[in-house]
Symmetry: C2
Subunit: 421 residues, 2 copies
């Protein structure tokens, strides 16, 4: 088995140091490299000064075989990365004709004037492999020295992602001999990491016998379980072994599993509804539009999402959704009965197969002794009848809204699949 | 004037290197330090291995007066930061009684069993100033060596923020002599950085005469302009000079300014409505709930937000909002007339003073030659009548939804203030 390949990430830009920009690029690259068995050793954020960049390059070259650099490639005079790389690799700039053509086309097609600084973006270091950026005007660059690969990319996230996927990753995987790698990621919702760990402890122990590594990747409300195998057999055999273990996992915690790999609750529910040609509506109170936003953030949601209502004011719950004012008075607006009545009202009004509802106290204010902040009822009405579930989240408004939306989507997923018992 | 104080940030945790967690902590700290005139020199993300931590500490101590460390302080055996700091500062662990009492109370009040690993969190290095963490069980620690301050904090963002605000920043500002600093941040929406720069270029030049520095802080759809003065006069005089310049700025670009400092369009609109005891409703199509989510993410929104509708399916626009099917047929669902009819319908149904509406093509699919992806109409109905505005954003669904929500809130802000002409 080959040694672990180690990478360093260098993120260039004053905006990172003053907190103007959060370094999402490094996280994205870390995840992408990790999935291919390349270990990120360090992430370094520095200002766009030549001396800083040169120092960071020296440090990274001393410890890693791959150095991925983002930022500092814009057309303005503040952006010094390209010139610094020229110094570092004893290079000089040459006109890269295909790039000049691409940039010229970019400006003429938009009717914008092309400035000298734009033209200069077509000048590339003569000893770099030019990685043409089809999402912007700043190209990527690939250098090699003493077995270490240096790649420079623009800092705009979607340009960096495009270059990584289309140019950088394929070249890295061809350049470095790596063992075959198989991952399988299983997504759970609504149970904590320690609860899961307890439930699957024996299974987890058994993984080592077949050389499978397990990672817990928790995020608010969800835990991803990732099984990985690194070069212990051929790819087909590794896939087979992982499948066996995945089946076992299903028998242990199947009810908490909602999807795989890049699935989201929104995409999973959307696929289920689209397959069945069924529709969804929502009546939101405490989630204030966030649940609908989650549903509609999946492209193509218009195929199954009829629309929804957000009823903040109590009298709107009555007037539009038909929730009897007496019911609200008797049971309280945050109650099982009102959650169900909201869902039933929305389902009828919007003429949908399923309706979800939320009513609760997102906080920070509005809690009482009987109904403290974080109490949220989720209602559901559908072909098999109505039900509601009560949740008790925490004190944080944003988190409560997110958790309620997740829980609602998972309740619907289980309902469609007949898992709600 | 004192020299610039330089800080280093060390972010510890494998989850950062594999991209499981985005390093929002470093950005938050960078912004907070920068506001006090402390310059972040480098952000270093490393794994939670003792050798890595020790190396990073040595590197940072060689160049900075402040080293802020986050992560690796949890109760599990993987978290080695505290033990590593003990090594680094030739310290030993001692029981910190107030912390033991706090942790014990934490567990007993929740009826949870307290384990040895939890009790160990009350053991603190004997030569550290203990920064008690009132938001969690892992304390902060403050060490000094050769004029450099080292502060270790837990990696949980809201615990780190609490410690920074209540313990770390006050101590840093007392420890390091700094000049008085005055900032003023002015928020604009809907115009680009280069457009603004052109409009205010003379004004910007004049700032240097009164020793005011200007920073452009762009984010999607918005540009923040931050004026800063560092110790060139007493605080009152600096405030006075900045006020004079702010007035001049208003006369140049006042129409694009929506707020100051930490304002958001949602909070600004909310304050305006609450002051006037007026109410808002929304009819969303392409924004799919995101606009309502923005409005309701401001605590207290129930005082002015009646509720809203999301009508994805065309027949729901007709059935519920009363948009005539013939109008949709004639003008198209993405049109000025439908945007206005949606707003008017929602305003009536929800009995609100103002109504906003959105109808457009968020993408990635659904565009046509006449109505390409990114085309969005915003409608508004209110006491002064109805209007609509057309926007042409880009190809990115998420971005289009965000930009449309911002534009809608700013249209409403101007309408309430009588600025829409």
């Amino acid at each position: 088995v080959e040694a672990v390949i180690q990478a360093d990430i260098v993120s260039i830009g004053d905006e990172l140091l003053i907190g103007q920009t959060v370094n999402t690029n490094a996280a994205w690259m870390g995840e992408r490299l990790n999935a291919e068995g390349i270990r990120v050793h360090r992430i370094t954020g520095i200002s766009d000064q030549q001396s800083e960049i040169l120092r960071a390059l020296d440090e990274c070259a001393a410890r890693s075989s791959i150095v991925l650099i983002t930022g500092g490639l814009g057309p303005t005079k503040d952006d010094v990365t390209k010139h610094t790389l020229c110094d570092y690799f004893q290079s000089h700039l040459e006109l890269h004709t295909p790039t000049l053509e691409r940039i010229t086309e970019f400006f003429t097609s938009r009717g914008l004037p092309m400035l000298d600084v734009n033209r200069d973006q077509a000048l590339m270091p003569h000893n770099a492999v030019v990685l043409e950026n089809q999402r912007g005007t700043a190209n990527g660059m690939w250098f090699e020295r003493n077995g270490t690969v240096f790649v420079s990319m623009p800092g705009v996230p979607y340009e960096m992602v495009w270059l990584m996927e289309h140019e950088v990753m394929p070249r890295l995987l061809a350049y470095f001999r790596r063992p075959a790698i198989v991952h399988r990621t299983i997504l759970t919702q609504g149970v904590g990491e320690s609860f899961l760990a307890k439930k699957i402890s024996e299974w987890e122990t058994s993984l080592s016998e077949v050389s499978i590594a397990l990672a817990y990747l928790p995020s608010p409300g969800q835990v991803k379980l990732r099984m990985s195998m690194y070069g212990v057999a051929d790819e087909q055999e590794m896939r087979r072994r992982i499948q066996v273990k995945e089946k076992e996992l299903h028998s242990l915690i199947g009810e908490h599993i909602f999807g795989y790999e890049k699935d989201t609750l929104s995409s999973v529910v959307g696929t289920l509804l689209a397959q069945r040609q069924q529709t969804l509506t929502i009546a939101e109170s405490c989630t204030g539009g966030y649940l609908a936003h989650q549903v509609t953030s999946t492209p193509g949601a218009s195929a199954y999402f009829n629309g929804s209502l957000i009823t903040y004011a109590e009298e709107r719950k009555s007037a539009i959704l038909g929730v009897p004012a007496a019911l609200i008075g008797e049971k309280g607006v945050v109650s099982e009965e009102v959650a169900i009545a909201m869902a039933a009202g929305a389902r009828k009004l919007m003429n949908a197969d399923y309706a979800l509802s939320t009513t609760g106290i997102a906080g920070p204010d509005g809690g009482t002794e009987e109904v403290p902040v974080g109490t949220i009822w989720i209602g559901l009405d559908g072909p098999a009848g109505a039900r509601a579930a009560k949740f008790r989240f925490g004190q944080n408004r944003e988190r409560n809204i997110q958790m309620a939306a997740q829980s609602a989507l998972n309740l619907l997923r289980k309902e469609i699949l007949g898992l709600n018992g």
